[in-house]
């Protein structure tokens, strides 16, 4: 139980995928203009991460390891993730056309989202069992959601702030992301001694 808690906390805060591992920066900057779309994107990533990490875990252990074909890891994982994203895209298009429109190009871009692939690879590297994999996925996507929504909230406030001409737009967004990342570094102290 304690182990699971540590995994979730670690994935969310101390080793936050976006702000500490710098994975998934593309949607982090791209879909963070509005809190509502950020939330939608987070939910999509949560779903994709859950399904993809479970699937990749199973495929790795029951299809790659028995044949000693671990070297196929990357390409197989990408295949699985891409299919999962396609499925998610269809589901979102069916269930929430407005969210589908708001996410736009970033939805298919989850396909090549390094956060998802990174998660799948880390699952294997860390030798997690299925339960740990599930909670690591929850923690990772929770961390992604936390970073994305926090950042979207900041950017919404920035819209109203008087920003010097040279810093307007992406520049101030990157500066903000950097400061947010620094803030997350403060969680490092939480990490269990290993």
């Amino acid at each position: 139980m304690k182990e699971i808690f540590v995994i979730v906390l670690m994935a969310m805060l101390t080793e936050n995928f976006v702000l500490a591992k710098f994975l998934g920066i593309c949607p982090f900057l791209g879909v963070s203009k509005k809190t509502s779309t950020a939330l939608g994107m987070s939910m999509a990533v949560l779903f994709v991460m859950m399904v993809a990490s479970i699937l990749t875990f199973l495929i790795h252990h029951f299809a790659l390891v028995p044949f000693r074909a671990e070297y196929l890891q990357t390409i197989v994982f990408i295949l699985v993730i891409a299919s999962t994203v396609q499925l998610t895209e269809m589901a979102i298009q069916k269930m929430s056309p407005s969210l589908y429109q708001a996410l736009g190009i970033f939805l298919p871009l989850i396909t090549t989202n390094c956060a998802v692939l990174g998660l799948a690879v880390l699952n294997i590297q860390n030798d997690y069992r299925l339960l740990q994999v599930i909670f690591y996925a929850i923690g990772a996507s929770g961390g992604f959601a936390l970073a994305l929504i926090l950042f979207a909230g900041l950017r919404e406030k920035l819209e109203l702030a008087e920003v010097p001409q040279a810093f307007r737009g992406p520049a101030i967004a990157l500066v903000t992301a950097g400061i947010l990342s620094l803030a997350f570094m403060g969680f490092t102290g939480l990490a269990p001694a290993s």
């Binding site: 299809a63 044949f67 074909a69 299919s83 269809m90 589901a91």
Partner: protein, 337 residues
């Protein structure tokens, strides 16, 4: 060994790919989104100018509106009758296209006719100029000529003359209404394309005030309304009525003492606005017409008096009755000469 490994890799990838594709095709069935093929067909026939003349955000918004039933199928001005008929075909209804319209700038008072009364140095935008004490033009209803409508027009139909007037190209204008919406003075209005005559003034002030600010403004003399029923008075302005169906004779324009009425059967609009020769030609024709009219009136008067005189004259002697028309007949002859 090498081939075995390759085969194995291919087999693993292939089987995973197969499983995924089966999953995806099942998903496609479950999450099938019904798209209306009429949307794509409508997008194909719409002009694609995204002018907003229909009141919807762009052509795609209009197509969606048509499918949802919120848009009027006849609402696409740039498409004109052809597109309206095609929309009808796609939507499965029979449509009779509306009257083709054209936007007309209701002002002919250029810098010489309605000179600027102030030196405006602000933004080159009619809305800004209009906001500053009503613009620099003497006439508060006249075209400011700073080209705000020109930039609003996506069809490149509006030009601004050097004399500070907007001219709309009748052939390029699609009556989308973008210029009408943006003009701060509401000078541009839609008129049926079949109208041959336009009153190029919208100043509703008293005749004296109109004359004080512009030499080509409508002074509400009502002379034109006597020439054709199509011209009616709207308070202190002559307008071409869209309801009345009657011919507009050339005399409608010729009778106007101010030269406010533009007859496109006689002149091109750009000539009328820019070419002094057109104005001179108009004045000559006006003189000729006036003389003709005078002669005709005199002839009519003579006829009238003759017919009046006849019943009285009949009981009297024949010589008296003959003498009277003779004396009256001389002035028209002199007028014609």
């Amino acid at each position: 060994m090498f081939t075995n490994e390759t085969l194995l890799a291919l087999a693993i990838l292939g089987s995973i790919g197969l499983v995924m594709s089966v999953l995806l095709s099942i998903g496609k069935r479950i999450f099938a989104v019904e798209t209306d093929d009429r949307f794509d067909r409508l997008m194909d026939i719409l002009p694609g100018a995204n002018c907003g003349g229909c009141g919807f955000p762009g052509c795609s918004g209009f197509a969606q509106g048509l499918i949802d039933g919120t848009a009027k199928p006849t609402a696409c001005p740039p498409g004109g009758p052809e597109v309206t008929v095609l929309i009808g075909e796609i939507m499965g209804v029979k449509l009779t296209p509306g009257e083709p319209m054209v936007a007309v700038v209701g002002c002919a008072g250029d810098h010489s006719a309605a000179p600027p009364v102030a030196n405006y140095q602000g933004l080159r935008d009619c809305r800004a100029a209009h906001a500053v004490a009503g613009g620099a033009k003497s006439c508060a209803y006249g075209c400011l000529g700073l080209g705000t409508c020109q930039t609003a027009c996506v069809f490149d139909a509006i030009t601004i003359t050097d004399t500070g007037l907007a001219i709309i190209d009748r052939d390029k204008c699609t009556a989308c209404g973008a210029c009408i919406e943006i003009c701060p003075r509401q000078i541009i209005r839609l008129h049926p394309k079949r109208d041959e005559v336009h009153v190029l003034c919208i100043n509703p002030d008293k005749p004296k005030e109109v004359k004080a600010v512009c030499t080509v403004g409508c002074t509400a003399c009502k002379l034109c309304t006597r020439q054709s029923e199509r011209l009616v008075m709207d308070e202190r302005l002559a307008v071409v009525s869209p309801e009345v169906k009657a011919d507009i004779p050339a005399s409608c324009a010729l009778v106007c003492p101010q030269g406010t009425i533009f007859d496109l059967r006689q002149y091109a609009l750009s000539d009328w606005i820019l070419d002094p020769a057109a104005r001179r030609n108009f004045e000559q024709r006006q003189e000729a017409w006036k003389a003709e009219e005078k002669a005709r009136k005199a002839a009519a008067r003579e006829k009238k008096s003759a017919s009046k005189a006849k019943p009285k004259a009949d009981p009297d002697t024949n010589t008296d009755a003959n003498a009277e028309p003779g004396t009256d007949a001389t002035p028209p002859a002199g007028g014609e000469a």
